[in-house]
């Protein structure tokens, strides 16, 4: 009965698998060209769930077949059998009978004559799914130098402490020494020297035990950590492993080892002790950790500098009450590394204990001041603000730079004048850059007011910098002040003001800014101001109706210079009414206004101006304007538009009638090639005969025919024959010949 139920289940799962395989195949076919396998977790989450179920339906027989095939696997062969085993493993969960069954097959595999590479890949599966059941098989692998690494890989995160016991036993067996519970038994047969076979086994196991933090192995590791001849690498790694285990017992063992007369061994033990302290601290055993840090702080060995640095860091991290004093002492040490390390811990201290360091700001040598300043600023130490403000004027460049940078963190409105002063052209460039950054970074709206106030009387360049700062601070309250600078006579100042207002302002500022452009008293930099207004209009968008504002100002303007300036802006903003105004201005009595209007029309940003531009090109007398307008017209034909194909053809035909120069004809050809409307070939084809533009014409004709080979076949054939026979470009001749074949 049980067997029957199993068979039914298998049949059902096979049916399910068949359905799933169809779905997978459909997915695979979409990527058939890449010949890539679509694995379980592909495409979409919904399908993934199905494909999981599908692959989980591998039968016992199929799994056995996979193991059989995998047993002979060598690198350089297909790995699908191993992939199937991996999928089967992945589709089980801890505690499921299927996982236990699969593990049994893996155990048998490890005990078989399978290749080492195949066993290694099975160990990779046990790394994730292995249980105590596979420990005996893995323990055997531990004892073989060829397989010990793969066994350690598998055992790394076995949840049970039985894995630790297996690892410990493997040490004893490899050393051929019995463990009494406290030490290794004396045995004449024991390995005194670790040979090439034993060494990787012992090292791998020690490392694994250390990473597993096995507390029971502390005594064994303590024994192995003794610096016996021939085992230096083992001893060093054992010390390191004790540090990683990081229990009070491990600390005790390491303390003992650190008393060794062998300096290298003793130093290694102390570094491991430092590691142990970190582990203790992370585990919540702060008092033991602090005791270790204090011990290491008083160390006088060859490694004292690094150990003292580590101890100070540890004390500061653990918020030990001893930390400030240790740091203060180190701050006065002549060694710059120790000094800097101590000062770098200041941000970790609590409020009161920082007082000695604030006090030292005024008395310490410059190289210490330069370190103290950023450390105190980083923790936002406002009690250090007065001293740091004074140090911003230090003659020592490192100190003044550090202070200016620090004020970005702890400065307030009161420090703004000092920072603004540092922007002065006579200041060192790095100080100016630091001051600028601090002004941007400084917190609080009050600082904005102080920056605005500081602009009064500042040099032009500084004012421009400060306006940029205010923009980046999004200080909208500063807009009136900025607006006042748009009326300046200074051609370096007012463009900066226009720029700042255009970036920071909103609809309310647009009309005043346009009015400011109209009322400029020195127009030397008017084009910069115009550009700012154009960008402002673009940022505000059509909803703000910027062109109406500009148009209204244009209509109020009386002088040619202002009218010209506003015409240029209208040419960028476009919009309702703008085109009419520009067209009217092309008939203005003033030469300057007329010239500007014609050029503006020729540069119009959309296709709406095409027809009047052509009309003007036809009627205007000055040849220069004719050329400008015709070129503008042909450019506009290529812009997005609402014309029918017939209208487009007509438009190009009208343009061609006016085109006198090769350049203009080339523009027509280029436009026809890009928009191959019906009839384009009739227009372009005759130009093949024009020697000045023959190449461009031939290219355009080929492109027009390529876009629509079925149209105007006779003309197309005749044109292509001419090109195939006479075009200068060999590639074009070849292409024309090929096209002729297609037309036939």
């Amino acid at each position: 009965m049980k067997l029957f139920a199993q068979k039914t289940s298998v049949a059902a799962s096979r049916q399910s698998a068949a359905i799933c395989k169809n779905e997978i195949n459909a997915a695979v076919s979409r990527h058939a060209a890449t010949r890539r396998f679509v694995a379980v977790s592909m495409l979409v989450a919904a399908l993934t769930a199905v494909t999981h179920q599908c692959l989980a339906a591998l039968t016992d027989v199929e799994i056995d077949q996979a193991f059989t095939a995998a047993a002979t696997y060598q690198i350089g062969q297909p790995r699908d059998a191993l992939a199937r085993i991996a999928e089967a493993a992945r589709d089980t969960r801890p505690g499921e009978p299927r996982r236990a069954q699969l593990e049994q097959k893996m155990i048998a595999f490890l005990q078989s004559g399978a290749t080492l590479e195949a066993k290694r890949l099975i160990c990779r599966q046990l790394w994730v799914i292995g249980s105590d059941a596979s420990l005996p098989a893995l323990e055997k692998l531990l004892l073989n130098p060829d397989t010990t690494a793969m066994a350690c890989f598998a055992l790394m995160n076995y949840p049970s402490t039985a894995a630790d016991a297996a690892l410990r036993r493997a040490i004893d067996k490899t050393l051929n020494r019995a463990w009494t519970g406290k030490s290794f038994a004396k045995d004449d047969e024991a390995r005194q020297q670790l040979d090439d076979e034993a060494s990787p086994i012992i090292l791998g196991i020690i490392d694994t035990l250390g990473n597993r933090r096995d507390p029971t192995s502390v005594l064994r590791l303590s024994q192995l950590a003794k610096s016996e001849s021939g085992r230096l690498a083992v001893a060093a790694l054992a010390l390191d492993a004790l540090g990683r285990i990081g229990t009070p017992d491990a600390a005790k063992a390491l303390r003992a080892a650190s008393a060794s007369p062998d300096t290298a061994h003793s130093d290694a033990a102390k570094f491991a002790l430092l590691h142990c302290a970190q582990r203790l601290e992370n585990d919540g055993n702060t008092s033991d950790a602090i005791a270790i840090y204090r011990q290491l702080l008083s160390d006088q060995s060859a490694q004292f500098l690094r150990l003292q640095c580590g101890a100070i860091i540890g004390l500061a991290n653990s918020r030990a009450s001893q930390a400030p004093a240790a740091m203060e002492a180190a701050m006065k040490n002549p060694n710059p590394i120790l000094r800097a390390t101590a000062i770098a811990q200041i941000p970790k201290l609590n409020g009161k204990s920082v007082a000695p360091f604030v006090k030292a700001l005024t008395s310490a040598p410059p190289e210490v001041q330069a370190l103290l300043i950023p450390a105190l600023a980083e923790r936002g130490e406002v009690s250090a603000r007065p001293a740091i403000t004074l140090l911003a004027s230090s003659k020592n460049p490192d100190v003044s730079l550090a202070a200016l940078q620090a004020l970005g963190h702890i400065g307030i409105a009161r420090q703004v004048p000092l920072l603004v002063e540092a922007l002065n052209p006579s200041s060192p460039p790095q100080n100016a850059a630091a001051a600028l950054a601090s002004l941007r970074q400084m917190k609080g709206d009050e600082a904005n007011g102080a920056i605005v106030a500081a602009m009064e009387g500042a040099p032009t360049g500084v004012k421009a910098d400060l306006m940029d700062v205010l923009v980046s601070r999004n200080a909208k309250a500063a807009l009136p002040g900025m607006m006042s600078f748009t009326h300046s006579m200074d051609p370096k100042l007012y463009p900066a003001a226009f720029n700042a207002v255009s970036r920071l302002g909103d609809t309310a500022q647009f009309a005043p800014l346009v009015a400011a452009l109209a009322s400029l008293r020195n127009r030397a930099a008017e084009e910069d101001a115009e550009r700012s207004i154009t960008q402002f209009a673009s940022r505000l968008g059509e909803a703000a109706k910027p062109s109406e504002v500009v148009l209204a100002e244009f209509q109020r303007a009386t002088t040619p210079a202002v009218r010209s300036s506003l015409l240029r802006v209208l040419g960028e903003t476009a919009g309702p009414g703008a085109l009419e105004a520009v067209l009217a201005a092309t008939k203005d009595a003033d030469d300057t206004v007329r010239d500007t209007a014609v050029r503006t029309l020729a540069n119009w940003p959309d296709a709406s101006a095409a027809t009047p531009t052509l009309a003007l090109a036809r009627s205007i007398e000055r040849p220069v304007y004719q050329v400008l307008l015709l070129r503008g017209y042909l450019r506009m034909l290529g812009l997005p538009n609402q014309r029918t194909p017939e209208q487009t053809l007509q438009a190009y035909a009208e343009g061609l009638q006016l085109a006198k120069r090769p350049d203009e004809k080339r523009l027509v050809l280029s436009g026809l090639a890009a928009a191959p409307v019906p009839g384009a070939l009739k227009l372009a084809s005759p130009m093949i005969e024009d020697a000045a533009i023959q190449s461009e014409a031939a290219l355009a004709v080929v492109q027009i025919i390529k876009a629509n080979p079925a149209a105007e076949r006779e003309l197309a054939r005749a044109s292509l024959q001419k090109i195939a026979a006479g075009a200068a470009d060999a590639n074009l001749r070849k292409e024309a010949t090929a096209l002729l074949g297609r037309i036939h």
């Binding site: 694995a39 999981h52 699908d80 690494a149 090292l203 490694q303 590394i337 410059p366 999004n474 673009s538």
Partner: protein, 416 residues
Amino acid sequence: LGAAASAPLIVPSSVLGLDGAVAPSNRIVLANIGVGNRARAILTHFMQFKEIQLRAVSDCRADRLKSAKEMVDQYYKNTECQTHADFREVLARRDIDAVFIATGNRWHGLASILAAKSGKDVYSEKPISLTIAEGRELADTCKRLGTVYQAGHQRRSVDSYKFMAEAVRRGLIGKLHTVVMQVWEGPAIPIQKSTPVPAGVNYDLWLGQTPWRDFNPAHFNAWQYFWDTAEGVITDMGCHYTDLMQFTLGTDDTGPVEFEGTAEFPDPKTTYSETPIRAEVRCRYASGITAIMQQKGGFTDRFIRFIGDAGWIQVDDQTNLVTAEPKSILQLRPIVAKGWDDTGDHIGDWLHGIRTRTQPVANPETAHRAMSICQLCNLSLRLGQKLQWDPAREKFLNSPDASRMLSRARRAPWTA
């Protein structure tokens, strides 16, 4: 064990000579570990700093070692660059203060830990670790020993990305809800016949801590796409973007809490590589922000985009082009020229850290957090599971299997 007792005295620039030359006591003597393509691309960025003296290079491949020495000697116009086939010789040298690590990914984390234990400061290329546990070990080691460590997450020091981060932080795209990161499709490396180890290669050292496997050119030349020696494109490139995401969100000491994804893997019948070809993983922060890591498209299509309820901002990594909606955001950007391929500012930040014994911008904790997001993405793909993660304790809440994949045993003698 280390050589800090003989480390140079790092003093402020006030002791520099008037001609701008660096006083001998202020020099940082640098050695390089691993001189492949990446190292060769940016070694000059290190050497351009006057306070750096690159004195030694090391690599387990003789051909690379030789050409690297030629490159360094040519730069300094002398023949003084020393070569080491085994980087442990570099770590044992008492005259070396700091190392630049640009090995294959499998060595980045362990070599950094060993260097820190030897008393050297470290600049390491990304990805910074092989496993989440190794990343934690690296961060803890540097913290314990005061090692100044900079990960090669140089985009933190590049203006375009800094601007993007600032724009998001200042709310210019409204309330952030989604981050999209795109890396390129990974290759499928075909099975190849095994060959002898090439002359001049110390293959055991090359493999390092990773499990022994007999030499095969498909693996040797494309190690990035095998679980043992790297973890594919999501970690290799994705860590840059997760780093920027963490940097922008101000979550450098934490990370997302949920990971779920789908992937397309290479066909085991015809290919030897293992890591995904295409993939998409969705990560969720406790704050509700969704991060999408997508592996698709070409190499030049990679980008990172932040999307808020009032707009978005994106940096195209290949071109360094910043785009945004509303476009007005871009007007706030200062004019800048440097892109991700200029690591000078990032190296400068590291040197400042060495002088002041403070951690640089891409310090071990931030780098580990960025990298662990990629590693968690990969674990969700490898296991086909939705993973719930406690970033504070760095533990899984719902998957014993994933918990066991947090660390791997290292192959002796390549232990920490």
